[in-house]
Symmetry: C2
Subunit: 226 residues, 2 copies
């Protein structure tokens, strides 16, 4: 279930790497795992043994209905922490979107540290709050935005998060985007074409997954906020 298809490279490191800002027991050991594109990192309802941080690659977290309908709750990109559960089991299935390397730490270890270090405990609360905030915003998108608004919001989100070059290199397919936005892949494709027609985005290179945001201003007016 858990380790399946991975290169294990145990390294010693500090919790700072997990986003904890306090100095603390540097003897806590972190490991690295790699997952091939499309493989499962953990399944919904599995016991939450580890907490993960994306080192390279990208991950999708999703829920399924019994008939296969899928809702992706979040994408996890380089640096993001995921799989942090307060309860004892995972509430999403997590899969590598592309070949991905993660750092991981035993949940139990983290809890132990948190119990003795209020700063770490507070960081856990902050991370959970960040996740909650994202989910709250996403409920508004899923419940009330049009397809064009959703795709615009998506591009803006990715632009913010992939804060590297001016090219947005999307790791995920149209289907993934659709399942994140509560749409079909065709609708996503049409919306992207429309944004292109409007002169708001350009497709670059030969792949369809690299996007240049030519008019962030106009895009922001399409995705109306509060």
């Amino acid at each position: 279930m858990f380790v399946r298809n991975s290169d294990v490279t145990s390294r010693s490191s500090s919790l700072r790497d997990l986003g904890m800002t306090s100095d603390l027991n540097p003897a806590v050991s972190l490991s690295e795992f790699s997952y091939k594109k499309g493989t499962e990192i953990y399944g919904e309802k599995e016991p939450a043994e580890y907490v993960y941080q994306v080192k390279t690659g990208a991950v999708r977290s999703y829920k399924l209905l019994s008939d296969g309908r899928r809702q992706i709750g979040a994408f996890h990109l380089a640096g993001d922490i995921f799989g942090l559960e307060n309860g004892s089991s995972h509430r999403f299935t997590a899969e590598a979107i592309v070949d991905t390397t993660v750092r991981l730490i035993r949940r139990q270890t983290l809890e132990l540290v948190a119990d003795n270090d209020p700063v770490v405990a507070n960081n856990l609360l902050n991370m959970t709050t960040t996740n909650l905030q994202h989910a709250e915003d996403h409920m508004l998108l899923l419940g009330r935005k049009t397809s064009l608004e959703r795709v615009a919001a998506f591009i803006l989100e990715m632009d913010q998060r992939l804060t590297g070059a001016d090219v947005i290199a999307l790791p995920m397919s149209r289907r993934d985007i659709a399942d994140y936005l509560g749409l079909t892949l065709e609708t996503v494709s049409r919306a992207l074409s429309r944004l292109h027609e409007f002169g708001i985005i350009e497709f670059v290179g030969n792949t369809q997954r690299q996007i240049v945001l030519s008019d962030r201003q106009k895009l922001a007016t399409i995705d109306l906020q509060g």
Copy 2:
């Protein structure tokens, strides 16, 4: 903004009333406020000065788009705690659905206590996690369920939460339900009629807001889970 239209009745009480299970400084004082049906308790982006617990009545928390589209993120019923923010300002607007009385505590006070009592701190994390879990499930509903499935899920949720008599007495209007489920009020009404035709629910009394769940089994098959 905050106190506007309320009867203030300051009382002394213990934090236990706020759902904190640990014994702690009983000198912390709680107040009670009342809000008339339809009035705002706090607005989105206002500084989060207090944390609230519904004593009687019901509250809706929502976000608005600039053109008036509304997404209700949660309903708060008797006993529920709401308005707990980690950041400094509210992320929803909260309104009394019917005449409502709340207990409240200064956020600052709560934080102070949490800093010194790891049990309270842990309760804050648990509450945030509960909210997160609800939002995650609601994303699946909003993104991927049909109108009938959404309304079925709503009835089941209310049945669970209004765990009193066998009559589900809904405090909220069809429009509120619609804005919670990402539908229109007409679609909600039609779905309820359909559930009635199917012999799954009955309307009781003279109001349309009291529902008897005749066949919980069948209802559960309509709202398909994971």
